[in-house]
């Protein structure tokens, strides 16, 4: 098993990781020492002060604007329209004091409200996350380490071109292109609390946004010079009871979009062009928080807020339940050929692996055949001796990302908030998926002093190796290239899988041996 003690010690404070070359991570004291390469994505600094977050509390503006002189029936109708049954009951219970409603109605409304509250609190005790407000829920289940406090909330690279979209604290989304200086800003009335972004594969323009009440799909014309596309370019996909949306996943063939909400036990399969959806409902779990589609399109990971996650198989949409012991599945990522899933569980600091027989779904396929998951890395807290004293590194895993060639695995580790010397850090592993799965330490990636990593993503098609994009909590977005020569595993093009040798059962045993050899 690979553990943090095998890693080279983290850099002393003030040093910044710049790039990897010749199997070593190179660092310097400031970002400016970075030797420019022939291709360079824009490095950005988005300060929190420059953004104006809307102070829109959910019902705060209502009392300020609506003058309460409407007739009772109008108000009731409005309450029914705005907030449904509970809103109507609230309205009746409140306005009965004015003596317009008969007293029995007030009593009835109060009783029904009490019953509703009791039922919902009972339901909430089964699934504690349901008691959170929708904003807290997004912050809780987002892949970003500090969703609520940092200026960048989500980031997504376009799967084919050198552009990426960032969602900012003020609910706007900017699309940055490496080749042009225009950065269109997307704003929409319904675009609130964006928690995830996803570009449609095999398409130049479509960008899906997971918003508080809906999924927005923007069509940003790549040849347009406009900096503020009109909101007519956005499609609104909404379904009652499916909000807030916290995760999105396009199928690698670009045909369908999945969306997940922690309050809805069904995940939605959207036919975006037709704006229609099919709910995939399974009881248990209390919702769906995180989705990740295998790059070969054959399987989907769906995490739930309780100690359970599912792996869906996409040819007949059946699923496998994977109960975990300690907590919910926080994050997960797939190997490029879709045969291996790495995931982490909240409350533990280890990476688990699940492997699947690579039968790219003949019809009537099954989700998988492995019986249990294997621990492949232990990232629990480890103390390093550095020149500036002892630092401890490690802890819970926030995000796992795997580069598209399957050679580098970046892990965002949350620091232990109770310890002052512990900080959140990115640990990078070298990985190999064939002939057998191997995990080797590469090093830690660090930023400027005082800046915690917040979001990490790999560039989907960096030619010279892998390119890790990191959003730091101080608003900086930097790109750290890993230069290496690929071992010659053909990268699967989207939409089909290359012939991959069938992993034999025997290799599982030897793999475990390998971990133990590495770990000792």
């Amino acid at each position: 098993m690979c553990s943090l003690s095998l890693f080279p010690p983290p850099l002393p404070a003030g040093h910044v990781t710049l790039y990897e070359s010749n199997n070593e991570l190179v660092s310097a004291t400031s970002l400016d020492n970075y030797q420019r390469q022939d291709w360079d994505p824009p490095s950005l600094l988005i300060l929190k002060e420059t953004l104006k977050p809307h102070n829109r509390l959910e019902n705060s503006s209502k009392a300020a604007f609506i003058h309460h002189q409407e007739t009772l029936w109008m108000r009731s109708a409005n309450a029914w329209h705005d907030a449904g049954l509970s809103g109507l009951l609230d309205e009746i219970a409140n306005s009965a004091d004015e003596g317009k409603f008969p007293r029995c109605m007030k009593v009835g409304a109060c009783c029904s409200l009490a019953i509703l509250r009791w039922v919902s609190s009972f339901h909430g005790s089964l699934f504690p996350h349901l008691t959170l407000s929708s904003e807290d829920m997004v912050a809780e289940f987002s892949q970003a380490a500090d969703w609520a406090g940092c200026s960048v909330r989500a980031l997504a690279w376009h799967p084919h071109t050198d552009k990426f979209a960032v969602a900012l604290l003020d609910d706007s989304v900017r699309v940055h292109n490496a080749k042009s200086s225009t950065a269109p800003t997307l704003k929409h009335r319904l675009q609130r609390n964006v928690s995830a972004l996803a570009w449609k594969p095999l398409c130049a323009s479509a960008l899906a946004l997971a918003c508080q009440n809906c999924v927005l799909v923007w069509h940003v014309d790549p040849s347009s010079l406009s900096t503020r596309p009109s909101s007519g370019c956005a499609q609104v996909l909404s379904q009652p009871g499916h909000s807030p949306v916290t995760s999105l996943a396009w199928s690698p063939s670009g045909a369908i979009l999945l969306s997940a909400s922690p309050v809805d036990t069904a995940m939605m399969v959207w036919d975006v062009a037709g704006e229609s959806c099919v709910p995939l409902q399974r009881v248990g779990g209390g919702g769906v928080t995180f989705l990740s589609w295998a790059p070969d399109g054959s399987r989907v990971l769906a995490a739930t807020p309780s100690a359970l996650f599912r792996v869906w198989e996409t040819s007949m949409w059946t699923c496998e339940r994977w109960p975990t012991l300690t907590g919910r599945c926080q994050t997960g990522c797939w190997s490029p050929d879709g045969s291996r899933l790495l995931f982490s569980v909240q409350g533990e600091s280890v990476i688990y692996a699940l492997s699947f027989a690579n039968t790219p779904g003949e019809l009537l396929g099954q989700a998988g055949d492995s019986k249990s998951s294997v621990i492949v890395a232990d990232l629990s807290e480890t103390t390093f001796e550095t020149s500036s004293g002892e630092t401890s590194v490690g802890g819970e895993i926030q995000t796992l990302v795997w580069d598209p060639r399957g050679e580098r695995l970046a892990v965002l580790l949350k620091g232990n908030p109770e310890k002052s010397d512990s900080r959140s850090i990115i640990a990078v592993f070298k990985t190999r998926t064939s002939p057998i799965f191997e995990l080797l330490p590469c090093g830690f990636v660090q930023g400027e002093e005082g800046a915690d990593p917040h979001l990490i993503h790999f560039h989907p098609h960096f030619e010279k190796g892998a390119l890790l994009t990191v959003c730091w909590c101080n608003g900086r977005i930097s790109h750290i290239p890993f230069y290496f020569v690929s071992a010659g595993v053909p990268r699967p093009s989207l939409g089909y899988s290359p012939p991959v040798p069938y992993p034999s059962r025997g290799s599982e045993v030897s793999e475990r041996l390998l971990y133990s050899e590495l770990g000792s």
Binding site: H158, H160, T161, L202, C203, A204, S205, P222, S223, G232, Q235, V236, Q239, S253, G254, A255, I256, V269, D271, V272, A273, G274, E275, S276, C277, V278, P279, L280, Q281, S298, T314, S315, M316, W317, T318, P360, G361, E362, L363, S493, L494, G495, Y496, P498, P499
Partner: protein, 670 residues
């Protein structure tokens, strides 16, 4: 339709069995829904034990058993009608008068009549099962005033129930035709039948309950005004008396009876749930994937193989299922893809691939033709072109294939005259739009398809003129493509160049003086009629509907695009003999031409660029958004090919214009 293609092997062996299985399941589900209905109909919150034991007693009674048997019969008949009326291509009326015609069609009349009778039967069963005051049509009179004390009186509640059933059956039938519920849509993701049914069941119940509520409201209003007619009629024919002690039901006090309305609503929901469930099961069974073999080792099974089946025109459901299977095999079945790429054993010809790709290209070319014809009709604003231009044009366009490119914009754009506000003269003509507009004069079509079109699409051709129905329009281009489709399987590659145009036949039709005179008269009559507002209203084309009708078959096109693009992408690594490479220029050419035509279509002034918001309900409206789905999947298909092949596409022979377009795709700028 009733006799169509029943002797086809596929209908006999697959569709019938699927229909039978779905009907059998709906029959099996009847006792369960009946039990729930009985429980709900005698609900009493205050005496729960009494309620449950009473209901259980009733359930074992002879009335309920008899009702279930009767309802099995009803479900069988409903299932039979669903089977007879289903279609894979929705028929979309383009004008209001066509919609009225559809509703008043004799076939539809039979449908409504039978459904009304079935509704009456079901509500009789419901009335009998509820029991109490609803049970019998006649009751002994309570009122003492009549001289004959023992005479029977009419039980108006029972009559009210029976008529409500007929009303609901009729409105079900009406909504069935207006909402195109006979259209079997195919799901975007594959799921097991049980899971699909389970997932849709809550929607069925909700939809039925809401629908029943509306029906009850409408029925009560109808009965309030017209209820005395059937009552009087029944009274006189059966020699019954009206009970004067009770409120009659066409008064407000009679109607405001909560228990009556509740029972009416419950039985309406029950009726709709059983029928919708039958309908849902039928759709689920019919749209299930059927796996056709790609090739067979026995020659007697050859007609059941995918290449043969795909090229068959009838029955339509067979073609759709074949295309669905084709799209799925290309996506996730490497072994079956290998069969497609394989060579025939003696001879070494790629028969499978050329038949499959040829058929797909034919389908796609058909659509391109249709789109161009539509655009042309719209851009000339429905006006008939001067005859001379069309007939002069013909020899040049059919004779030479390459040179006509330059002159062809003239031929179809010159007749356009700037239209004043009194364009309604065109309302009777094919695909005119409601508002006058100037067509965009941008780039002329540089496609070979356009050249052919100017040849074939002359105003004297039989399908030009006052054609209202989309069916005729759809048939039009097939006149031309049938020649292409016939020769492609033999050649191995469909020609990208223009097919020979039947020019001598078309050229022979010289307009005579008489026909010109008649045409003028027609114009005048139309002009006079067009001034009447009502006629305008009825005959005006609905632009949204004609756009929908144009793309009504697009599910087939989407599958063809998906299948082709996935196969081409897979051929990059899996095609050992290079069979795909020979057709790659044709595939790219067809897709890019179609892309151009689709882009043009969405630039037409009336075309909406986004689907209208629809609330998700049981009634499938996916046919309304097919054109958006087609646009998206066309783009995705081209991107799939360009992403896979990348720079290698520069070695493929395509025209200059298509090369430019391809470059755009390669740079991700579309």
């Amino acid at each position: 339709m009733l006799s169509l293609g029943h002797d086809h092997w596929f209908i006999r062996k697959v569709v019938f069995w699927r229909a039978a299985a779905s009907i059998a399941w709906s029959v099996l589900l009847l006792p369960a829904s009946t039990a729930i209905f009985v429980l709900l109909s005698r609900i009493s919150v205050l005496h729960p034990i009494e309620w449950i034991t009473g209901s259980l007693n009733i359930l074992c009674g002879s009335y309920v058993i008899f009702s279930i048997v009767l309802q099995c019969l009803v479900v069988l008949i409903i299932g039979f009608f669903i089977l007879e009326f289903y279609t894979a291509v929705p028929s979309i009326p383009c004008t209001r008068i066509a919609l009225i015609g559809k509703v008043l069609h004799p076939q539809q009349f039979i449908h409504s009549l039978v459904h009304a009778v079935m509704g009456m039967l079901v509500s009789w069963c419901a009335a009998v099962m509820i029991g109490g005051r609803f049970q019998f049509l006649t009751t002994p009179c309570i009122a003492e005033e009549s001289a004959v004390a023992s005479s029977m009186c009419l039980n108006e509640y029972h009559l009210f129930f029976l008529l409500a059933g007929a009303f609901m059956g009729y409105s079900y039938s009406l909504l069935y035709v207006v909402g195109n519920m006979n259209y079997v849509s195919f799901p975007s993701i594959q799921q097991y039948k049980y899971l699909r049914f389970k997932g849709t069941l809550p929607l069925v119940i909700k939809h039925s309950a809401v629908q029943a509520l509306y029906s009850v409201r409408n029925y009560c209003i109808t009965y309030f005004f017209l209820g005395y007619i059937p009552r009087a009629w029944i009274c006189t024919t059966m020699n019954l008396q009206k009970d004067r002690a009770l409120h009659s039901l066409d008064t407000l006090t009679g109607l405001l009876d909560f228990s009556l309305l509740y029972h009416l609503w419950i039985s309406g929901t029950f009726l709709l749930v059983t029928w919708y469930m039958t309908w849902l099961l039928f759709r689920i069974y019919t749209s299930e994937v059927y796996c056709f073999p790609v090739q067979s080792s026995f020659s007697e099974d050859a007609h059941q193989c995918l290449p043969k089946v795909l090229s068959s025109k009838q029955p339509l459901i067979l073609k759709y299922l074949a295309l669905q299977d084709f799209a799925l095999l290309s996506q996730n079945s490497p072994s079956r893809r290998q069969e497609v790429f394989s060579l025939s054993q003696p001879g070494g010809h790629p028969h499978n691939w050329s038949a499959l790709s040829g058929e797909c290209l034919t389908i796609l070319n058909d659509l391109t033709q249709k789109l161009i014809a539509y655009q042309e009709a719209v851009s000339s604003n429905g006006r008939i072109k001067p005859q001379s231009l069309g007939s002069d044009k013909r020899p040049s366009s059919s004779g030479s294939s390459a040179t006509s490119l330059i002159e062809e914009p003239m031929s179809w754009q010159t007749p356009r005259v700037s239209m004043g506000p009194k364009t309604p003269g065109s309302v009777f003509l094919r695909s005119s739009v409601a508002s006058p507009f100037t067509p965009d004069l941008g780039s002329p079509f540089g496609s070979p398809a356009m050249k052919r079109l100017t040849g074939t699409l002359d105003p004297s051709s039989p399908w030009h003129g006052s054609v209202q129905s989309p069916h005729v329009m759809r048939r039009g281009p097939k006149l031309w493509t049938s020649s292409l489709g016939a020769e492609t399987p033999l050649n191995g590659s469909p020609q990208s160049g223009p097919a020979p145009v039947p020019s001598p036949v078309a050229g022979a039709q010289k307009p005579s003086l008489v026909s010109l005179w008649i045409q003028n008269r027609q114009e005048q009559v139309k002009n006079v009629l067009a001034k009447r507002v009502l006629i305008m209203y009825l005959f005006n084309k609905l632009p949204e509907a004609s756009s929908q009708a144009l793309f009504a078959e697009s599910q087939a096109h989407i599958w063809a695009l998906e299948g082709l693009s996935h196969l081409v992408a897979a051929s990059y690594t899996e095609d050992r003999f290079g069979v795909v490479q020979t057709t790659l220029p044709d595939i790219l050419g067809t897709m890019l031409t179609l892309q151009e035509a689709v882009d043009k279509h969405f630039k037409l002034p009336h075309a909406s660029s986004k689907p209208a918001r629809t609330l998700s309900s049981l009634v499938d409206t996916s046919y309304k958004t097919l054109r958006f789905a087609l646009r998206a999947s066309l783009k995705t298909a081209i991107y799939r090919i360009t992403t896979t092949f990348g720079e290698h596409l520069n070695a493929v022979q395509v025209s200059v214009e298509h090369r430019k377009r391809l470059q755009q795709f390669l740079e991700y700028k579309e």
